[in-house]
């Protein structure tokens, strides 16, 4: 008798399968990967001002788009598609096999991370070519960027899986999830300069990960001189990491404890 494959092994295989499935859904590929680029094109064409010396709106906006891309691609997509998989009976079938839940979660995390990487490459390439986006030169900033993307997509994946228990059905999921994400985007300074928002909005946003991801991305793409214009007069890098880790832990806890494989 051979041994059953390990959870990690199966998780990696599931990741490959998820990517293959995703790549065959042309609408969702276009929407997920190109939507941020389209938004950048619209906003970058409308707002041509600089918001601080040497900081164009595009530069500011790219930071916000990458951060909100993490939320859209992970949290929003999973919180909508997992209830649909549940409605289709796909999850119940998986549950009847020896594949553990952790493998399913790892597969989703791999899918989200892969599509984030492609999305970011497209966004940065497009920004540099058409909107004068300046890339950071400091290796330290690229290090920050790397852990922000890794931690951000892990956090977003875990919260998306956890939140998938909330919508009653796949059909209604979008109506429950999308407003939350859109409101968070406005509150978190993705579309507007964060410090110009009303104080109460800033305070609400500070509870959730998107604000911190956005601020973290600004620390990568904006000059350090801009840090003085943040609410705390600094990038608050450690606090960002801590808050994202707490949300990651919350996401994992509810995913593991409450995940629903079946309707009813």
């Amino acid at each position: 008798m051979n041994k059953i494959p390990s959870a990690l092994q199966l998780g990696i295989r599931r990741g490959g399968l998820e990517i293959r499935q995703f790549a065959r859904q042309r609408e969702s590929v276009v929407f997920t990967l190109l939507f941020p680029v389209i938004l950048l094109a619209i906003f970058g064409s409308v707002f041509k001002d600089t918001i601080a010396p040497g900081v164009t709106f595009s530069q500011y906006f790219v930071a916000g788009m990458i951060a909100s891309g993490l939320v859209n691609t992970g949290f929003q997509a999973l919180a909508i598609t997992i209830p649909m998989e549940r409605d289709f009976g796909a999850l119940k079938r998986l549950r009847g096999t020896p594949m553990p839940a952790s493998s399913y979660f790892i597969g989703k995390a791999i899918l989200i991370f892969a599509s984030m990487v492609i999305q970011i490459l497209l966004l940065l390439g497009f920004g540099v070519l058409f909107f004068g986006l300046e890339m950071p030169t400091d290796p330290g900033k690229w290090l920050t960027f790397t852990w922000l993307v890794l931690l951000g997509s892990a956090c977003s994946t875990a919260l998306g899986i956890a939140f998938s228990i909330v919508p009653k059905s796949g059909r209604g999921a979008s109506a429950v999830v999308s407003p939350i994400v859109i409101i968070l985007q406005f509150f978190s300074g993705v579309f507007f300069v964060f410090t110009q928002l009303p104080l109460w909005m800033q305070q609400v946003a500070a509870i959730f990960p998107l604000k911190w991801l956005t601020q973290g991305m600004r620390s990568v793409f904006l000059p350090d001189s801009f840090a003085t214009q943040e609410v705390a007069k600094s990038w608050e890098t450690e606090r960002t990491a801590a808050i994202l880790l707490v949300w990651l832990a919350i996401g994992i806890f509810f995913s593991v404890r409450k995940f629903k494989w079946d309707r009813d």
Partner: protein, 283 residues
């Protein structure tokens, strides 16, 4: 040793007592069929055996394991069983062979992917996307995914709903082949002819308890029940119920001087017996 052993199983949903003290024992190597009307507790019972639901009371052993245990033990147990649920309709962006191959990776000793595709009759469709399969082909894919792990025990839930008669016969042959290969099967079905064709034993469940367990031929005293003899006498059709059909036929034969016009001798079908049992239990 029995493969499945259930004693005093109980399960309620709020005020509704779906299963009320159910006992069941299924032997290794048999095809066992669970019959019962909707709402009888059939699905609840099977889902408890499959480890999808927890029970309120009673003991359950499936392959010597309590299905409601979680964790690594449960993975080892799931490695030994196969489940074919009622229709699942995945998004279908994968091909038949991709899906079966992927699922085979979940098990320690899977069957050969090609052989499984052959045995469910999907060879010509192996490169097709699942979304392009017909209902019957999809159902055969469901079965392929249920047996790919080379299970000792297979759960089949309404496997031939929506099949045309020809596909059904082919499917029955597949199930009989699986049993020959050593797989024990728990079949739930609404089709009495299916139970009769496949099952070694059937259990009738109603109102959350088992009313009777028997072979299909003997269920409800079917083998010893009165036969009906029917024939044409002049312009009218006559029929008579009797314990001794042979004697009746032979006396008719001598009175007709040989051939009896339009002679039919029947015993109640499994369906007749079943409906009588269910009706009786509901009164």
């Amino acid at each position: 040793m029995s493969l499945i052993e259930v004693k005093g199983l109980k399960k309620s949903y709020g005020e509704v007592h779906a299963v009320r003290g159910l006992d069941l024992s299924i032997a290794q190597g048999e095809i066992f069929s669970l019959l019962g009307p909707n709402g009888a507790g059939k699905t609840t019972t099977v889902e408890i055996l499959e480890g999808f639901r927890t029970r309120d009371a009673g003991s359950v052993s499936v392959l010597g394991f309590d299905p409601q245990t979680r964790g690594h033990e449960s993975r080892i147990w799931r490695n030994r069983i196969g489940i074919v649920l009622q229709s699942s309709s995945d998004a279908g962006d994968l091909t038949v062979i991709e899906t079966i191959k992927h699922f085979s990776g979940y098990y320690s000793n899977p069957r050969n992917v090609d052989e499984v595709i052959h045995s469910v009759g999907l060879k010509e469709k192996e490169g097709a996307l699942i979304r392009n399969l017909s209902g019957g082909q999809r159902r055969r894919l469901d079965v392929a995914l249920g047996i790919i792990g080379n299970p000792e025990l297979l759960f089949l839930d309404e496997p031939t709903t929506g099949f045309d008669p020809e596909a059904r016969r082919a499917f029955w042959a597949l199930i009989q082949q699986l049993r020959t290969d050593g797989t024990s099967i728990l079949l739930t079905t609404h089709y009495l002819d299916e139970a009769e064709a496949l099952a070694d034993r059937v259990a009738v469940i109603n109102n959350g308890v088992i009313i009777e367990v028997s072979t299909p031929a003997e269920l409800g005293g079917r083998a010893t029940s009165q036969a009906t003899v029917q024939w044409r006498d002049g312009d009218s059709i006559k029929s008579e119920k009797t314990d001794n059909p042979t004697a009746l036929v032979s006396s008719l034969s001598s009175s007709f001087n040989g051939e009896i016009p339009e002679l039919i001798v029947t015993r109640p079908s499994l369906e007749d017996i079943y409906l009588e049992m269910i009706g009786g239990a509901n009164e």
